[in-house]
């Protein structure tokens, strides 16, 4: 029969239409359906019904811990009175080598005697080339480069804003703990594990222990690498 298909379709649409109001009534006594964090969480889960819109910018959909946008460099928390903390980066160059579009430039620091210093003198990331793949953060052996969660970077000018230098890239470790608490904790645990293993190695110079310590270190690496701790 002609028209039946259209009626069926209209019925489905009507169901959606009605659903979008039913939930409003449910939430009306619980602080409202919109601009309410509790309601937003339910709305965005598989149990969400009706209008699922996120009212950006008033409401923001939280990003998961593993979310990746442009990278940043981790530093120590700055000491009181100081602007910058110590860089974690040792300018080993692994991130620059693994970066698929080659958007990382590192100038290795030099000691007065001309030998390389484990600290970058300059560090640039061209975010017009960066593909947010996260390989730099994944392979950094010092947890010194991480993927930022700040995606609100729109600008009116790219010549000045889109090459991030070391100053722009550096963020204290407390920031990373804030945006990715579980991941940061897991990484800290693994680092501590390695430290302890190293200390053990120093204590006893036995052949077997050394091998054991190395294994333990590899295992700790692996834990972080596969995300087993978070």
């Amino acid at each position: 029969m002609y028209g039946l298909g259209i009626l069926k379709g209209m019925a489905v649409t009507l169901k959606h239409f009605v659903n979008s109001y039913v939930d409003d009534i449910f939430w009306s006594s619980r602080g409202g359906r919109y601009y309410n964090d509790e309601a937003l969480a339910v709305r965005q889960s598989p149990q969400g019904k009706g209008v699922i819109t996120v009212f950006y910018p008033e409401e923001k959909l939280a990003v998961p811990e593993r979310f990746r946008f442009v990278p940043f460099l981790v530093t120590d928390d700055p000491a009181p009175g100081e602007r910058w903390g110590h860089d974690w980066c040792t300018s080993c160059g692994i991130c620059a080598k693994v970066c698929p579009p080659q958007c990382i430039w590192i100038k290795r620091g030099k000691q007065p005697n001309g030998r390389p210093k484990p600290e970058p003198e300059e560090f640039y990331i061209d975010i017009d080339i960066c593909m947010n793949c996260g390989l730099c953060a994944e392979f950094c052996p010092f947890d010194a480069i991480k993927m930022d969660h700040d995606y609100e970077l729109a600008s009116y000018n790219r010549t000045t804003a889109h090459i991030h230098d070391k100053e722009r890239l550096s963020k204290p470790i407390s920031y990373w703990r804030e945006i990715a608490p579980k991941k940061a904790a897991a990484e800290a645990a693994a680092r501590q594990f390695v430290e302890e293993a190293k200390a053990k190695k120093k204590d006893k110079k036995g052949e077997g222990e050394e091998r054991e310590a190395r294994l333990a270190e590899a295992m700790a690496r692996q834990l972080v690498y596969k995300g087993g701790l978070y």
Binding site: Y56, C130, L153, A154, Y156, N157, H162
Partner: protein, 217 residues
């Protein structure tokens, strides 16, 4: 009356005392900008991966309609903003420039994603334009590969803020000799893409290369 911002609006001397609000632009600007910023119609035009995020932004979860931007027009004549969403290739840029030329004033360009802004991860490729701003003026750049829908919304809000800053008295598009209304010359495809504005430069470089070749020979 010190009304230097709007020299065109001449208020006759006999009614000057009766005009309460002397700066008309100040009154009109909020209305003018409010109506414009809430009805920015994008050109329905997707290039690559970012276009998918653009469509997601327009769909229910992020709902571009809240900003009056849901009307994706197929024709550039009806559009206000061009969201360059994706990698701009050399083969495509003549068409993009032509589309830009066909959008009527006032027109805005949002460069979405790393590719459109500066070539992105594909910059090193031989068929990729290293930034759409090499050919057409861009108002807002949104980094990311791809920018998430929320990042795109952030960029579009930045565009709205830009529109808010404009004043009907100073915007160029109601005047004669409007510099922004000029046609951007359409780039051509020779042995490689070339910008018509660069013909002299290319000739000069070719001559230089020939001279060098003679010297080495």
């Amino acid at each position: 009356m010190s009304n230097t911002a709007v020299p065109e609006i001449a208020i006759p001397a006999e009614v000057e005392n009766n005009v309460f609000i002397t700066n008309i632009a100040k009154l009109l600007d909020p209305i003018y900008n409010w109506s414009r910023r809430n009805s920015i119609w994008p050109l329905g035009f997707g290039l690559a991966c970012c276009a998918i995020e653009m469509i997601c932004t327009a769909s229910s979860r992020y709902d571009l309609a809240r900003f009056g931007m849901e009307v994706f027009r197929g024709s550039p004549r009806q559009a206000d903003v061009m969201i360059v969403s994706g990698t701009v290739t050399k083969k495509m840029i003549p068409i993009i420039v032509r589309l830009y030329n066909q959008i009527t004033e006032p027109r805005y360009v949002v460069s979405m994603g790393a590719c459109a802004s500066g070539g992105g991860p594909f910059k090193e490729g031989y068929n990729v334009v290293d930034g759409v701003d090499k050919f057409i003026p861009v108002d807002v750049y949104i980094p990311g590969c791809p920018p998430t829908p929320q990042a795109l919304l952030n960029g579009l809000i930045a565009l709205q803020e830009k529109i808010d800053q404009q004043s009907i008295a100073t915007v160029p598009w109601y005047r004669k000799n409007d510099p922004t209304a000029e046609m951007v010359p359409v780039p051509r495809l020779g042995p490689d893409l070339y910008d018509v504005r660069q013909i002299d430069l290319i000739k000069r470089e070719a001559a230089k290369a020939q001279a060098e070749a003679k010297v080495t020979a």
